[in-house]
Amino acid sequence: MKIKLTKGAIENPLIRQLERVSGEELKRCYQCGKCSAGCPVTFAMEIPPSQIMRFLQIGMMDDVMKANSMWVCVGCLQCYARCPQSVSVANVLEGLRQLHLRKGEDREQIKDVPFPFLKNAPQQAIVCGFRKFVS
């Protein structure tokens, strides 16, 4: 894949906003890959955690916003626990979800959640799911 880096993309205001919302300084990541190695859902992510960090560092915000990574992150904090730089990719991914949700772009419709799940699942799963997927 050919990637064209531009100053404009790297200084994308949306990326600065993401840094503010997530409280994470993207440039602290030095690409060791330990987050992707420890993350239990790397296999299901279109862009793995360490690459999310790199994409954002070089201004590839559009790719990151389109990828499923933020929606399959379970928030388990294994990435943060393993990061030698104390970066929390979990916070960055939650920041990305929030960028969608704060614009009212919900990931799930409550009416689409299967009824047996609503009936039988622990309430904590339902409350948590709605917090992650619905604005």
Partner: protein, 290 residues
């Protein structure tokens, strides 16, 4: 002795067996888990974006109202523990956020409550040696794997209940109850959590790895502290069994159910019938129950 206790939304309903077994077990070692009055849901997720203060108002309200009548608050559910303890540390250490959150909920809470997990009460206040001395029906010969998941342990600087990579608290409890504690390498991995709502395939894969790795390491039963872990693991059993040759399923129980059993409670009061995968045939085979 009364210990103020916060059940949270799930323990009063879906995970009733978790709560009743804990309450009974507490009574048999001489204290009462006394449910705090007028509580609300903690929100079931600690917001990972630090500017999301509105999400901290529900847990802060619980903490502030518990502080009015006591100095500590105990939880059983790992998620409640995580949310309340992390919120408490914001209320204690961040003056600016504290002022905003107190403004939302019209209180002046300062973070001075001591938020604990029931495992800490057993380990630090009672002592596992005393628990061991109170055992009436040792779990001899039972190979039990502790499954921690995420929320009890991480992030270490806020939770601090045990080493986040190599915890021992549940293994030590199981050993005190007479069981053989099995350590499985996947015991601190995530079960898939709230993805149960949207991505069942991921949950089955994650839960499957946790269960099959426990079985490969010799476990006959898995012990957990979280109703969502319990649900995800149990729900995944049949799909994991059809995908994994030689895997026939494993009971997933709450640590309090094993505690109650060892302390001599009647098995019928411990909520084993509420688990999808019944642990009683195994316990019978081991001679632990009749």
């Amino acid at each position: 002795m009364k210990i103020p206790y916060y059940p949270g939304c799930t323990l009063n309903t879906v995970a009733k067996g978790f709560e009743t077994s804990a309450k009974e077990a507490a009574l048999s070692i001489g204290f009462e888990l006394a449910e705090m009055p007028a509580w609300n849901c903690c929100g079931a997720t600690f917001p990972l974006t630090p500017d999301n203060l509105i999400a901290l108002s529900a847990p802060a309200k619980v903490l502030s109202s518990a502080r009015k009548t006591g100095e500590s608050l105990t939880t059983l559910c790992s998620v409640c523990y995580n949310v309340l303890k992390r919120t408490n540390s914001v209320m204690k250490n961040d003056r600016e956020k504290r002022a905003v959150i107190n403004g939302f909920i019209e209180t002046d809470y300062d973070g001075s409550l001591n938020v604990t997990h029931f495992l800490e009460i057993l380990r630090d206040n009672i002592g596992f040696d005393k628990v061991k001395a109170a055992v009436k029906q040792p779990l001899t010969g039972l190979k039990a794997a502790a499954y921690y998941g995420c929320m009890l342990l991480r992030p270490f600087e806020d939770m601090g209940i045990d080493d986040a990579e190599d915890p021992v608290v549940m293994e030590n409890l199981l050993a005190a109850l007479g069981a053989e504690a099995i350590k499985s390498p996947n015991r601190i991995e995530c079960c898939g959590a709230h993805l149960a709502m949207t991505n069942e395939d991921i949950v089955v894969k994650l839960s499957g790895t946790i269960m099959t790795s426990a079985v490969r390491n010799g476990a006959e039963l898995i012990v957990t502290t979280c109703p969502l872990c319990q649900y995800n693991l149990e729900k995944s059993q049949s799909r994991v069994a059809s995908d994994t040759p030689g895997y026939a399923g494993i009971p997933i129980v709450y640590f309090t159910q094993m505690l109650g059993l060892a302390l001599g409670q009647d098995v019928d009061t411990l909520g084993f019938d509420k688990n999808i995968w019944d642990a009683r045939p195994l316990l019978r085979k081991k001679g632990i129950i009749k």
